[in-house]
């Protein structure tokens, strides 16, 4: 019985933390945020060289062969430093191929993704509320894909897209091929820009694993979004603490006022214990399949909801400055907004929790 991280997992997080501190401090993050491209090829290459791009890809296909929990731990640190880049979509595309691709398809597709030389993303959601596999309508007929997907992260720079199909199938599409129209939606999280993608008879390869895996993919997304939001929220609390210690009013740091201290304690009490919630949800994906769906539901709903609350209160805690573009809080605030709204809101995941829990 061991509900904790291994030394390797702790080291993995420390390595990326160290990298993020050196290569993407707040000043650099600000530059990238203002530019709004949500991508820095040098950052991505460096992360890929550290093995992040192919973390869960089996070793025989050039990856590190690690578990979903490791992937979630990376997501946490990327959220903590609000690192811009295509990690989320890339990881989901890989997960989709691993869940639904045949052995041949995996051998063909995964190596280029594992080393990060190709960037992939995942196009799942359709209308603003159609994020469940049952509601997808994109379809492949005669090797051609027709349909429209929305809120596709980093589609503008992706080489390949994993697409969710009607009846829960998945297909693999070359972004640069014919019949793929990509439109920038101007997303609020400038570290992870989002796009609408229209497929007008685009050549597509259906992953042969078939239906039933799409929900697992969506649940993986839920876990990674929860982990990202958790990382972002813990960082915001650290930012709050630093600001409260530094900002003086009535001749003393505002941290000495109970109203401020209690706010930070409340936010901490809301967030810190939830670390175990995303650990468990991620671990279930690999090791406890019976619990995986419900654990993912609870994690996505609970963590993104509490993180959003922490983000709102963090703005308030900074006073008027908190509402300015200049204040760093907004970068994490918007990061959490995406984590919360992409692929189902807390309310929707709570309804799913109720269904799975047979209320």
């Amino acid at each position: 019985m061991d509900f904790g991280l291994s030394e390797e997992q702790e080291m993995l997080q420390e390595t990326i933390r160290g990298f993020a501190q050196n290569e993407c401090p707040t000043t650099r993050l600000r530059e990238l945020f203002d530019k709004g491209e949500g991508h820095d090829p040098a950052l991505w290459t460096a992360l890929a060289e550290m093995g992040i791009a192919g973390l869960i890809v089996p070793e025989e296909h050039g990856g590190a062969g690690m578990e979903l929990l490791d992937l979630a731990l990376v997501a946490e640190v990327l959220g903590e430093y609000a690192i811009p880049g295509p990690f989320l979509g890339h990881a989901l595309a890989i997960r989709g191929v691993m869940l639904a691709g045949s052995a041949e398809q995996q051998a063909k597709i995964l190596p280029d993704l594992a080393d990060g030389s190709q960037i992939a993303t995942a196009a799942l959601q359709e209308g603003d509320a159609d994020w469940t596999p049952e509601s997808w309508t994109a379809r492949v007929r005669g090797g051609r894909l027709t349909g429209e997907k929305t809120i596709v992260s980093h589609a503008g720079i992706a080489d390949r897209i994993l697409v969710g199909l009607d009846a829960g199938g998945l297909a693999w599409v070359d972004t640069r091929g014919e019949g793929v129209v990509i439109e920038d939606l101007g997303g609020i999280d400038r570290t992870r820009p989002v796009y609408r993608v229209r497929f007008e008879g685009a050549p597509a390869e259906v992953l042969e694993g078939g239906g039933g895996n799409a929900w697992q993919l969506v649940e993986t997304a839920a876990v990674l979004l929860a982990a990202d939001a958790f990382g972002a929220a813990t960082k915001l609390i650290d930012i709050d603490v630093a600001y409260a210690m530094e900002r003086e009013q009535f001749g003393q740091p505002i941290a000495q006022f109970q109203a401020i201290k209690h706010t930070i304690a409340r936010l901490g009490t809301d967030i810190e214990p939830a670390r175990a919630l995303f650990w468990y949800a991620a671990h279930c994906q690999d090791a406890i399949p019976d619990e995986a769906a419900r654990a993912a539901s609870v994690a996505k709903a609970h963590i993104t909801d509490r993180a959003m609350n922490a983000a709102r209160e963090s703005v308030e805690l900074h006073g008027g400055y908190g509402f300015t573009w200049e204040c760093e809080v907004q970068m994490w605030f918007k990061r959490i907004m995406l984590d919360r709204s992409l692929l189902g809101t807390p309310d929707q995941w709570r309804e799913r929790t109720a269904v799975l829990g047979e209320y």
């Binding site: 991280l5 109970q258 304690a265 810190e272 650990w279 609970h302």
Partner: protein, 402 residues
């Protein structure tokens, strides 16, 4: 991460389950009063090595080698079977660990065994009218007169003082010493001359806590635990060791499950409440908190078991306030599910029971009771100060240091 139990621990669990088939008691024993039945079974638990594992045999414990996973299995299985385990009284929970660490041999032999069996009931004399959160400001006086202490003053919020045989309490023995010094830890017989217990009525209608008045109460000097004037440090040291800091999340899970049953039995606008979309979401939101708390507990347990307590100090500090908040959420949801029945007053028999109640009035009582733990043992706002100051390194409040 590996959530499976080892073969050894799995076998241990089977062993515990087999033992627990003896509860509830059967035959003639089943006709004895509940309290006696519990004493009988607790005694069997000690003999089998499941109860009071950390207490030496000579003082009435079962003295087992430390194994946190076995301890957890015992807690889980005894809880599931509703079987009596270590007495969760103030005496067994707080006074016994104190004596084990600081008591003389005579004190241990005399006071520990009856506290464990429940033959002797203990109450805790810490709080005073002016000394709640600022406990070290306590004033209740102990003056040495020959080989006896003479006590004068008042304690308050003393739970179960009306049934207690003994009190372990903190008294000011050196009025001129600094605030945290000059406090002495004493064991006081409740039948001593000059003690008066006056019950305080709770908002629930019951009588659980009391005021205790001391008027020239004489206590032999050998009832001093540790050194004179060291009472504050002694009481703190055992609080640090209090294993209840890592609470038992099973009761929260049970309460949640009861809530779900209640939702299934009530209606909202003519529809079963568990089918109402808003209510489903609200319950699912509560489930998020319940699961978080359980898993965080598991993380803390693992870390403690590996000797990595420092890594989980922060979530541990959060357990009490998070736990009481979640229980209040559950009870408030139940109260709302009751609709108009939420007005009903608990019955007399329910007032004496602190256990689970799933009748309407029982739920009302639980709703009222759920506020108690948020105050007892350090009110939530005090806990938040601790989390802010020790957990996040924020400066201390402005306070007088003397």
């Amino acid at each position: 991460m590996d959530l499976e139990y080892s073969a050894e621990h799995q076998a241990f669990r089977d062993e515990v389950r087999e033992f627990l088939e003896g509860w509830p008691l059967k035959g003639d024993e089943a006709r004895l009063p509940q309290e006696e039945q519990e004493q009988i079974f607790r005694k069997r638990g000690i003999e089998a090595g499941y109860v009071y594992r950390a207490v030496p045999k000579q003082y009435g414990g079962s003295e087992q080698p430390q194994d946190a996973i076995k301890d957890r299995i015992i807690v889980e299985e005894f809880y599931a079977a509703g079987a009596p385990r270590d007495l969760m009284s103030q005496g067994a929970g707080l006074m016994v660990p104190t004596l084990l660490e600081f008591g003389t041999e005579e004190q241990k032999e005399r006071w520990i065994p009856p506290a464990l069996t429940g033959e002797a009931n203990w109450c805790q004399g810490y709080s005073e009218p002016g000394s709640g959160s600022d406990l070290a400001s306590l004033q209740c006086q102990a003056r040495l007169d020959g080989d006896e202490w003479v006590l004068n003053g008042q304690k308050i919020w003393t739970s179960s003082a009306q049934r207690a045989h003994m009190m372990f309490g903190l008294f000011r023995s050196e009025p001129d010493a600094k605030k945290h010094e000059g406090i002495t830890y004493l064991l006081v017989p409740m039948d001593a001359e000059g003690i008066e217990v006056r019950p305080l009525r709770e908002m629930s209608g019951g009588y659980e806590f009391n005021e205790v008045f001391f008027d020239d109460v004489r206590v032999p000097v050998e009832n001093t635990v540790g050194k004179r004037g060291q009472g504050w440090q002694i009481s703190r040291a055992t609080l640090v060791h209090e294993r209840n800091l890592i609470g038992n999340p099973n009761s929260m899970r049970e309460a949640f499950s009861d809530l779900l049953d209640l939702a299934r039995s009530r209606k909202i606008n003519g529809v079963p409440a568990n089918e109402d979309p808003g209510m489903r979401r609200r319950i699912a939101e509560i489930e998020g908190y319940v699961q978080t708390s359980q898993l965080s507990n598991m993380r803390q347990f693992t870390a403690a078991n590996k000797g990595k307590m420092l890594e989980v100090m922060r979530p541990m500090m959060m357990n009490k306030v998070a736990g009481t908040d979640i229980m209040q959420m559950i009870m408030k949801c139940a109260y709302d599910l009751l609709g108009g029945d939420g007005i009903l007053a608990p019955t007399e028999s329910e007032l004496d029971t602190w256990g689970r109640q799933t009748t309407s009035t029982g739920w009302v009582l639980q709703y009222v009771f759920s506020m108690g733990p948020a105050i007892a043992g350090g009110a939530s706002n005090i806990q938040r100060n601790i989390i802010g100051e020790r957990g996040y390194g924020l400066p201390r409040d402005l306070r007088r240091e003397s």
